[in-house]
Assembly symmetry: C2
């Protein structure tokens, strides 16, 4: 039997979206964060939402056991939001947990089981030290064959970067452009963990220097990023500013069956494509400059949507590291292999470019609460497609199609969703 790409039995739309402030919040726990994004979602529904109408919950989360000592967060969260006895299920696919939770929410509506489903993502990460957090995240890699060899995630993506830089003769410094772009976008997103441009960060450093201004050692933001005293190596060729931060945060979206979406809004956003795939662990991957799971997932999503990469006008991609965004834009077919890095440099993926990527600031500047990131990507697309993205709203008046690309580990899981405004 051959796998045929199908349409869903029932159409599914997004009619509400919310997110918490992203950042490092010592006094908040996961329940607080999810409550904050849920309140934001409730307020986002144009024609109002009686929360008692929600019929089921999916929660994307990577490792609340390790971060908070709490498992079984489906019912814990349902209880906290006042939604007991509605069913609640936790979905875990490492950093793609949010994307996979969305997919389960879609299936729960498309199957006919429910009409109104809440999909949330949450991660509370700042409770552990950076070293401990790095070890927890490494559990998403293969603990038999990768972790014992020293492959934490910075090292894994550094290996991908080495392969890419070597293959296409790119210097590590060219990766700065991803971070500069995403911080520029993040500076326009009030909920971003880093709500400032690289230039603003540089100026703040300068303003704190004594004596001032003669000690200013940097002429521009690229010189600033090249200074190892402010941007040290994490795992060569990746530096601190190539890495997404450790983040506390939550996001959620409200899914409903197409036929009832006008009860909630006249401006729903349709889910027209969903794809998910697994890829080999890095230790057996035949190609280190592409994540096959992202390619397979995107082909499935494009096929279901009936459109190709050229039709996508805006995308949120999984930039857990700068190199990951570059590879993502190639895996998704936006640019040819080896051309992703040039596209960033040329501004083609900037807010004013032909194909804005990570207008939210991406994982790099908005922040990366791992189980929430896949949902937060969709929140950004929802806002952009409905022209509610504030200062970072893309100008294109014909904005119609957006894509979210969410990765677990180094391509163990790839999840792609394609959205269309009505």
């Amino acid at each position: 039997m051959v796998r045929k790409i199908k349409k869903l039995q029932r159409g599914v739309s997004i009619v509400g979206a919310g997110m918490s402030q992203f950042g490092s919040f010592k006094d908040l726990i996961g329940r607080d964060l999810l409550s904050e994004s849920f309140r934001d979602l409730v307020n986002s529904v144009d024609k109002g939402l009686d929360v008692m109408d929600i019929q089921s919950l999916y929660i994307g989360n990577f490792s609340t056991e390790m971060f908070e000592g709490q498992g079984h967060i489906g019912p814990i969260m349902a209880d906290w939001l006042g939604l007991t006895p509605r069913p609640a299920t936790r979905v875990e696919n490492a950093c793609a947990s949010g994307g996979s939770a969305l997919r389960e929410g879609i299936n729960a509506v498309a199957s006919g089981l429910y009409d109104i489903v809440l999909v949330g993502g949450v991660e509370k990460m700042s409770s552990l030290s950076t070293e401990e957090t790095t070890d927890v995240l490494a559990m998403a890699a293969d603990v038999l064959y990768e972790v014992p060899a020293g492959f934490t995630f910075p090292a894994i993506y550094a290996a991908i970067a080495v392969a890419y830089l070597d293959k296409y003769e790119v210097s590590p410094e060219q990766l700065f452009e991803v971070s500069i772009k995403n911080h520029m976008n993040g500076s326009l997103n009030p909920r971003a963990q880093f709500n400032s441009t690289i230039g603003e960060m540089m100026e703040r450093r300068v303003s704190r220097m004594v004596p001032s201004p003669v000690t200013n050692p940097w002429n521009d933001e690229r010189e600033f990023l090249n200074d190892l005293s402010v941007n040290p190596w994490v795992s060569w060729p990746l530096r601190l500013f190539d890495c997404a931060p450790i983040t506390d945060g939550s996001a959620c979206v409200l899914l409903v069956a197409d036929e009832i979406c006008n009860f909630f809004t006249d401006k729903p956003v349709r889910i027209i494509g969903t794809g998910q795939a697994t890829g080999p662990q890095l230790n057996t991957a035949p190609n280190s400059t592409s994540l096959s799971a992202a390619r397979v997932a995107s082909l499935e999503a494009y096929s279901m949507a009936g459109i190709g990469p050229d039709a996508i006008q805006i995308a949120e991609v999984h930039d857990c590291f700068s190199i990951a965004e570059v590879v993502a834009t190639e895996d998704l077919g936006f640019f040819k292999e080896g051309e992703g890095i040039e596209a960033v440099k040329d501004g083609r993926t900037s807010l004013q470019g032909e194909k804005p990527i990570n207008t939210s600031g991406g994982l790099k500047a908005k922040g990366h609460p791992v189980g929430a990131s896949g949902v937060a990507q969709v929140v950004e697309l929802y806002l952009q497609l409905r022209r509610q993205a504030g200062l970072r709203q893309v100008a294109n008046p014909n904005l119609e199609f957006g894509l979210a690309h969410n990765i677990g580990a180094a391509g163990g899981t790839g999840v792609v969703h394609i959205l269309q405004r009505e």
Copy 2:
């Protein structure tokens, strides 16, 4: 809007089922266990299965992070089974992870996304000490309000037992009947962790005594269970033999769309009802002798199936503790409140009774690898409904309807599935 119980958009059948040996296997890891149940499943498909036809995987698992230091097991398992790049998603709902994974598999077929889906459950628990394992399992309770008060799971179910015994004037010793019945069934299940009756266990103890036989202190199995030297208190009024063991094991089932099930078998088993619900944490539950999540989930499943509890001829229920089976049979409507304990004593739920419960041996004797248990319940029903259950096959020649009841924590999650043989 009022929640209406619906039919699935597309019917879903089970056409294959497998399980690993259950037990304590120091040399095996989760991947080995899932591979073993998968091989068993492949061999179970009447007309053969080309494993390349499998389109998607769901894996129920509670806490591989804590037990094996490995997260993100969806793609790890897909890779290990040779199924990359098929999508794989881990579903976690504590001890109901298996039941919830089955439900996601059903949705994935009913939504139209896939035609052939593998649902597995796995847990490797023996890597930690009993004390450590108890602490890991306690993460399924509320770590803010329950665990700090000393509520590990034996204590939580002991509280339920105290309430039940007090309310219905039952002695702790009457709970022995659950364990005696389930060990009797387990003695007929070659894959059970405890493949022996309580009587056989007693005889083995006697045969090892010196001098023999004058030291035999027990006249029968109830006297044996009443002896604190062999059956000590774990958490009053629950003793060692009231508790399911710590188990390594795996189970899986193959789901397909109804319209293609005859490619695989002429004897499929239909999924005619699925229900899932959350319940309050024990610290806020209004009633300690019933789990509301199980009641809500079963009402949903009965409604979808169009039958009631009287039509169910055989059931696997979540007997993590002896009291849990008694409460389950009442929550499911098999017996009136307070009559579940009498039903066991009267043999109504034995293999020869009117409504055999836990013919597999249940979690008590078959074993309880927590993320696998919900799937293993369905494996048992599949075998019974197809008359392949060997020595423990129920005699009823008109066996048609079976029910699986899977609980996470102390009723935080309840999942119920109703099956019908064709």
